[in-house]
Amino acid sequence: MTVALAIVLTGIGTYLSRAIFIVALAERRFPPLALRVLEYVAPAVMGALIVSMLTTPSGDVQIAAPELVGLGVAALVAWRSRNHILTLVAAMFSFWSMLALFA
């Protein structure tokens, strides 16, 4: 039963973290500076999230040549093509090639 309790608590907490400002700020006016700063949330969170995804559960960041090449190819292809599927195929292919080279 403790597992069910943990899942329900996490569900409530997750929902609240997504809803709180949307519901609470529904009628307020946003100052212009605040709106401009909010534009930086997406780049900052994504930059941090990418690194976090390359971190092992014990806290080691795994960024070696294959990861760097894979992400570099991803950035380049995404910038030139704006096509997510093409980006994924190109980046995974170069990542696997690098892994094979270094193995």
Partner: protein
């Protein structure tokens, strides 16, 4: 075909490529539930109840390792704390919207939905609402199916494929789409660099520290820009 149908179809079509990075998460989730000793249906129930891959994986792996309910829930919520930032950021877009949407929309506010909603500059609230909900519930439906499949398939995928790398790749693509001036690129790089520096903080909180300091830098850059 009316405008509404068109917006809904567009939402569905734009969701599907972005769902691909979630597939490795669904497989990893399947592995974690399998190793945790939790009944598969109970582990899967976290998909509709929590609807957040990283939080679900954190929660079940910690419970599987014998962590207390308090510790596991706290860790999962810290991993999911970036949703607070999404909520603040999207709050202006939820003004001039009906109340039911303000309560329902956040339930499907995952990373990809946030990223897609942010790059939309719809003037019309009804168009934004249709797009948001069709994106959100496309991801929702796919996640329910894939986490169920992950319970069976996850344990079968060879580790050496490292399919989890698809996740940072797709987020890099999203980041590139979101960057339209050098200040944003700088903020992204600094936030990522600081996350490396703070990587060994407990419960993955390095992610939050890096992101918050990056946003702080964004504030500074905006103050400088204004003075000019």
């Amino acid at each position: 075909m009316g405008d509404a149908t068109l917006q809904i179809r567009r939402g569905i079509a734009e969701s599907i490529p972005l769902f691909i990075p979630a597939i490795p998460f669904a497989l990893v989730f399947g592995v974690v539930v399998g190793e945790s000793g939790v009944a598969p249906w109970l582990g899967w129930s976290s998909s509709p109840i929590v609807f957040g891959g990283a939080a679900q994986i954190t929660l079940l792996s910690l419970l599987g390792e014998g962590a207390s309910v308090a510790a596991a829930v706290t860790a999962a919520l810290i991993v999911g704390a970036r949703h607070l930032l999404y909520s603040v950021t999207l709050a202006p877009r939820f003004q001039n919207q009906p109340r039911w949407f303000r309560w329902l929309g956040p339930y499907v506010l995952i990373d990809q939905v946030f990223a897609l909603a942010m790059v939309r500059h719809d003037e019309d609230p009804a168009a934004f609402r249709r797009y948001f909900l069709s994106v959100g519930f496309t991801f929702w439906t796919l996640w329910m199916l894939c986490t169920a499949a992950g319970l069976f398939i996850g344990p079968l995928v060879p580790d050496k494929w490292q399919i989890a790398f698809a996740a940072p790749v797709l987020f890099t693509a999203l980041l590139v789409t979101a960057v339209d001036r050098w200040q944003k690129l700088l903020v992204a790089v600094v936030a990522g660099g600081l996350t490396v520096v703070f990587a060994d903080l407990p419960n993955r909180s390095g992610l939050l520290v890096g992101a918050l300091l990056g946003i702080g830098l964004g504030l500074l850059l905006e103050l400088v820009r204004r003075r000019k």
